[in-house]
């Protein structure tokens, strides 16, 4: 029972983290009524997970060999894309709240494509969803020792409930933070989640033979093993791997540097005066900060 609890908690952790953040975000900008977009995205993710799980049990041959890998990699990179977008919004808001809060938030909301928020919920749930569905289906359909199967299933359900409680805690915790702090903390968090996903995606492509296989750069499994619960949490939060390959480290580092400079570069630059060679004295350089975008 405890084993299935941990597996389910581990699979649901990332989805819970993302759902907690996006629900908190909408609540924070006073747009809690848009939460239905998040709920709809998460519900679509659950349905798609069930469909994918069912498809896997019917498929065979090359479709079964490669299909789940291709879908899995596509979902990972889609998630990296929408999370990057979300981080950009958060940074935009963090800057906006320094000035006239409400007007800017209204402008930002008009420019927002809320389906991106729905997509975050969808990818967050769907990414590990099909595996979780098959995992739980396996326990229900296990023939023979019925008692154990049901207690195992109970463990898995409790694991998902614990993840949901975590999402709730993030949502409630976010309410206590001041608005600028909330945006800064969550946008930094999303940046690392996306960096971890990017490295995971690159690792998958290497395993599929699309990218070269590189050897592990270091081994910290003696300290935090990524199969354990702490390692899994760190994996979901910042992309921790006990034995990262050089390609994964390069992917993670490049993402953090490029996205960090793009989204947080202004924090480094603030004390200095802007260079005179910057084109357009007033126009914001970031495409996402256009109010009419």
């Amino acid at each position: 029972m405890s084993a299935t609890f941990l597996v389910a908690l581990r699979e649901a952790f990332e989805a819970a983290l993302l759902l907690g953040i996006v629900y908190g975000y909408l609540d924070k900008i006073g747009r809690g009524y848009h939460a239905r977009w998040v709920t709809a995205g998460a519900a679509a993710g659950v349905l798609a997970s069930i469909a994918a799980g069912a498809a896997m049990t019917w498929l065979s041959g090359p479709l079964l060999d490669l299909g789940p890998d291709v879908v899995g990699a596509a979902v990972i990179f889609l998630a990296v894309g929408v999370l990057t977008w979300m981080t950009a919004w958060m940074r935009q808001h963090a800057r906006a709240v320094m000035g006239q809060v409400q007007r800017r938030v209204d402008a930002a909301e008009r420019s927002h494509r809320l389906w991106v928020i729905a997509l975050i919920a969808f990818t967050g749930v769907f990414r590990e969803g099909a595996e979780t569905v098959l995992f739980m289906w396996g326990m229900v359909s296990q023939p023979g020792d019925g008692g154990t199967a049901w207690s195992n299933l109970g463990g898995a359900v409790l694991g998902i409930a614990a993840a949901a409680a975590l999402a709730w805690a993030i949502f409630r915790g976010g309410r206590r933070l001041s608005l600028p702090r909330f945006f800064t903390v969550t946008s930094a968090l999303l940046l690392f989640v996306a960096a971890g996903l990017f490295a995971t995606g690159v690792g998958r492509l290497a395993a599929m033979g699309i990218l070269p296989v590189t050897s592990a750069l270091w081994d910290t499994s003696w300290l935090v093993d990524d199969g354990g619960i702490v390692g899994s949490f760190l994996g979901g939060l910042v992309g921790y791997r006990a034995r990262p390959t050089s390609l994964e480290v390069a992917a993670w580092g490049s993402y953090v540097v490029v996205a960090g400079l793009l989204f947080f570069g202004d924090l480094l630059r603030r004390p200095r005066r802007r260079s005179a060679t910057v084109r357009g004295p007033v126009a914001p350089a970031e495409p996402w900060s256009r109010p009419d975008a």
């Binding site: 597996v7 098959l134 995992f135 396996g138 296990q142 990524d226 199969g227 390069a250 490049s254």
Partner: protein
């Protein structure tokens, strides 16, 4: 600054793309791996180091199992009663453990490359 960022981004993408061309495609050997009663058989697979191979995994149980090697970044769900083929990369000499993620207490094995 922004140009530098754009340049870095393009450089990374080109680097990843260029590296992608360097994979060999000889006919790899096939090695059978069976899952039965939530255990792998054989539990130790010996392979030649430096040569890619294909694992042909058959799940004889009714329940699904997930073949997972954390080290090799491979996670493959094998539904009950199904057989699937997993392309494995060429390995350096060493031992690479794998587990059945859904039955971690019993389903354990390792690939030994030498």
């Amino acid at each position: 600054m922004r140009r530098l960022v754009a340049f870095l981004g393009v450089a990374v993408i080109l680097g990843l793309g260029g590296a992608a061309g360097a994979t060999a495609a000889d006919k790899p050997v096939e090695i059978a791996l069976t899952i039965e009663n939530n255990r792998f058989s054989p539990e130790e697979i010996k392979v030649k180091a430096g040569a890619p191979f294909v694992l042909v995994i058959t799940n004889k149980d009714k329940t699904p199992e997930e073949f997972e090697s954390k080290e090799l970044r491979i996670e493959k769900v094998v539904p009950g009663g199904k057989t699937l083929r997993v392309r494995m990369p060429s390995l350096k000499p060493g031992t690479y453990p794998f587990i059945g993620d859904y039955h971690q207490q019993t389903a354990k094995g390792r690939i030994v490359a030498e």
